[in-house]
């Protein structure tokens, strides 16, 4: 048994001068749910296409269950793919769609029949096998596509933004549903999405991609709590950024327009380095009086520009003295918002919640 179900080694794909995938190294463990997360054009779908074999890589190797497959066409790779537009065969019934991969593998008729029934029951479509894809709702088509990819029991399941064509409520249901099925079957899965919510809920690990490269790989909590770069910090969730300068070898940082902090998460920064200090809005406090906690708390003065009501939370937007904006998220716990637009306020956060990132 190979150590990894999937391993990408120095994978590159260029179109002329454009580097769609610019050197990716990644290992996916057997049974793992890994998400490629990034904005559109970051190369995540191209990476998935390379794994599936829809086009050849410019450089690098793809190991599937320990075997190099970069030179193989898709039909020799033993993969299951769910497409964004489902790609169900419109001239075939649901049953025929699901049976397609088994038929290509020339399995006996009786076995095809039982496996198709199993797959349809797995995605809760029992009894709908005679329907045509066009007679089904978006959610049902999604389930057919999933059944069709799973029924061949592939080495790896590839999901290309499978939820982006569904409406919000259904999307949230399908997140849980797909994660449930994936865990039940223990099938290694690579999921491509631009939706951080999906990525955080569903994944064992997330690989955040930007401009053809992987910026950070890790479990959802790591990615959220300890972003490794400014890109990751602002792409996942929301983030306030402050400018700062490292004062000494102990790593104390002076915030521009604010106080001096220590006890943050940065390691070994040379004195004099300019840095970004990033803090989540939900970890930030707001008050009319200056907080007094010395270097364990960052504090910055500003003026409230807006108070937004979001339902479950309220957002206070603050403009700092240097003209930049930040925001504070207050849970809607029944208490009134303590400040109003135009107020002079202090934004503060524990230094332990501050992420120091290279500028």
């Amino acid at each position: 048994m190979a150590e990894f179900a999937l391993e990408l080694q120095g994978l590159e794909k260029t179109y002329g001068a454009a580097r769609a995938v610019d050197g990716i190294d990644l290992q996916v463990h057997t049974g793992e749910f890994l998400t490629l997360l990034g904005p559109s054009g970051c190369g995540k779908t191209t990476t998935l296409g390379l794994i599936a074999g829809f086009f050849p890589p410019t450089a690098g190797e793809i190991m599937l269950a320990g075997k190099p497959v970069a030179a193989l066409p898709p039909f020799k790779r033993d993969i299951g793919v769910v497409f964004q537009d489902y790609a169900l065969f419109p001239h075939m019934t649901v049953e025929q769609n699901v049976a397609f991969g088994l038929r290509m593998r020339r399995l006996p008729k009786a076995e095809i029949k039982t496996r198709v029934e199993e797959a349809l029951s797995l995605v809760k479509l029992t009894g709908l096998g005679e329907r045509k894809p066009l007679e089904m709702s978006g959610g049902q088509r999604q389930r057919v596509a999933l059944a069709r990819a799973l029924v061949i029991r592939p080495t790896i399941l590839l999901l290309d933004e499978p939820l982006s064509n569904l409406d919000l409520k259904l999307r949230e249901d399908m997140r849980v549903e797909i994660a449930r099925i994936q865990r039940k079957l223990g099938i290694t899965t690579v999921f491509v999405t631009h939706d951080q919510g999906e990525a955080l809920v569903m994944s064992d690990r997330i690989a955040v991609m930007n401009a053809g490269r992987i910026e950070q790989v890790g479990p959802p909590t790591d990615i959220y709590e300890h972003p490794a770069s400014r890109f990751v910090a602002q792409f996942i969730g929301r983030m306030n950024f402050y400018q700062g300068r490292v004062m000494d070898d102990a790593g104390r940082i002076e915030l521009v327009g604010g106080n001096v902090i220590s006890g943050h998460d940065a390691q070994e920064l040379a004195a004099g380095t300019t840095v970004h200090v990033a803090v989540r809005p939900e970890r930030t406090r707001i008050s009319k009086d200056m907080p007094a906690a010395g270097e364990a708390v960052m504090a910055l003065k500003g003026r409230v520009s807006d108070v937004l009501f979001l339902g479950a939370a309220r957002e206070v937007h603050v403009q700092y003295q240097d003209g930049r904006f930040g925001c504070v998220e207050l849970p809607n716990n029944g208490a009134p918002v303590p400040v109003a637009a135009g107020d002079e306020v202090w934004m503060s956060a524990d230094a332990s919640c501050c992420h120091v990132l290279p500028a």
Binding site: A52, G53, F54, P73, P74, F75, R77, I79, G80, V81, F83, Q84, D85, A87, L88, F89, P90, H91, F100, G101, M104, R105, R148, A149, I152, L158
Partner: protein, 285 residues
């Protein structure tokens, strides 16, 4: 409100009214006249009022005209099949290519439509006649020792028509193939289908309405074509259109000409109907 609705309901009729009148006067009536003339007797190049079936009996018993009838359909079927087969790879390429020359390539594929059929057919005349390019090249290559009579012949008519009508088949097939989601082919391959099986199981069934449409279009234009058979064919390779022209303008026997036209129209309508039914069945698959 209800007034607006009723106006809405009547609007399609208003739009259809003028074309309907036009078609009735210039298409329906002449065809009705043609049909009635085909049952009248012509004597000494004069149409009489006598009802008869002799015109049809003559057509189906006289070998020359029976052959013209069969030749017409042979030409139509050959051109239809040839065009669909030739157009398929071209249309597939044009639909799927990402080349920045795509627009130009499509324009090139359809460019033959810009030249008149007569001009294109004389092009083939220059190539195929006894002292033409084809004979020159084959002599020079040593394939033949004596000049061949490549035309007038049924083959020359088929070549000329297939060339003229290819753009129609390309257009029809591009429509059908353009409607096939490229992800379907990726999906089929990801499920283990080789390129060939992917073609047979997915592309071909979905393109079938386009194939049938392209065939019908080339077929129906081919069986009613006059210029190409007149130039590339001869007295020994008559088709219906040239025979009808002969009866109408040279022999001045409108009765038999009309009967022949009726046979042509009815048989092509019948084929249309069969093909449309086949098309509807595949579309509902």
């Amino acid at each position: 409100m209800s007034k607006a609705v009723s106006l809405q309901d009547r609007r399609p009729w208003l739009i259809a009214f003028l074309p309907a009148v036009f078609l009735f006067v210039f298409f329906g009536l002449p065809n009705a006249m043609l049909l009635s003339i085909s049952f009248l007797k012509t004597e000494a190049q004069q149409l009489t009022g006598e009802l008869t079936l002799d015109n049809y009996v003559f057509l189906f018993t006289e070998q020359t005209y029976l052959e013209a009838l069969l030749r017409t359909f042979f030409v139509g079927v050959s051109v239809g099949i040839l065009d669909v087969v030739l157009a398929f790879p071209l249309a597939y390429f044009l639909v799927r290519t990402n080349s920045r020359w795509r627009g130009l390539l499509i324009a090139l594929a359809l460019a033959p439509l810009l030249a008149s059929v007569v001009v294109r057919t004389y092009g083939w005349y220059v190539i195929l006649n006894r002292f033409g390019v084809a004979n020159d090249v084959m002599l020079w290559l040593g394939v033949i020792e004596q000049r061949l009579t490549l035309m007038p012949s049924t083959g020359a008519i088929i070549i000329g028509l297939a060339h003229s009508l290819l753009p129609y088949a390309v257009l029809t097939l591009m429509g059908a193939l353009g409607g096939i989601n490229p992800s379907l082919e990726k999906a089929a391959m990801s499920l283990g289908a080789s390129r060939f099986r992917c073609f047979v199981e997915v592309v071909l069934p979905l393109a079938l309405p386009g194939l049938i449409g392209g065939f019908i279009l080339s077929f129906s234009v081919a069986i009613s074509a006059y210029a190409t058979p007149a130039i590339l064919g001869g007295p020994a390779t008559q088709v219906m259109a040239t025979a009808i022209y002969g009866f109408m303008t040279q022999l001045l026997d409108w009765s038999i000409g009309a009967a022949m036209a009726v046979v042509l129209i009815v048989s092509s309508l019948l084929l249309f109907y069969l093909a449309a039914r086949a098309g509807a069945r595949t579309a509902s698959l």
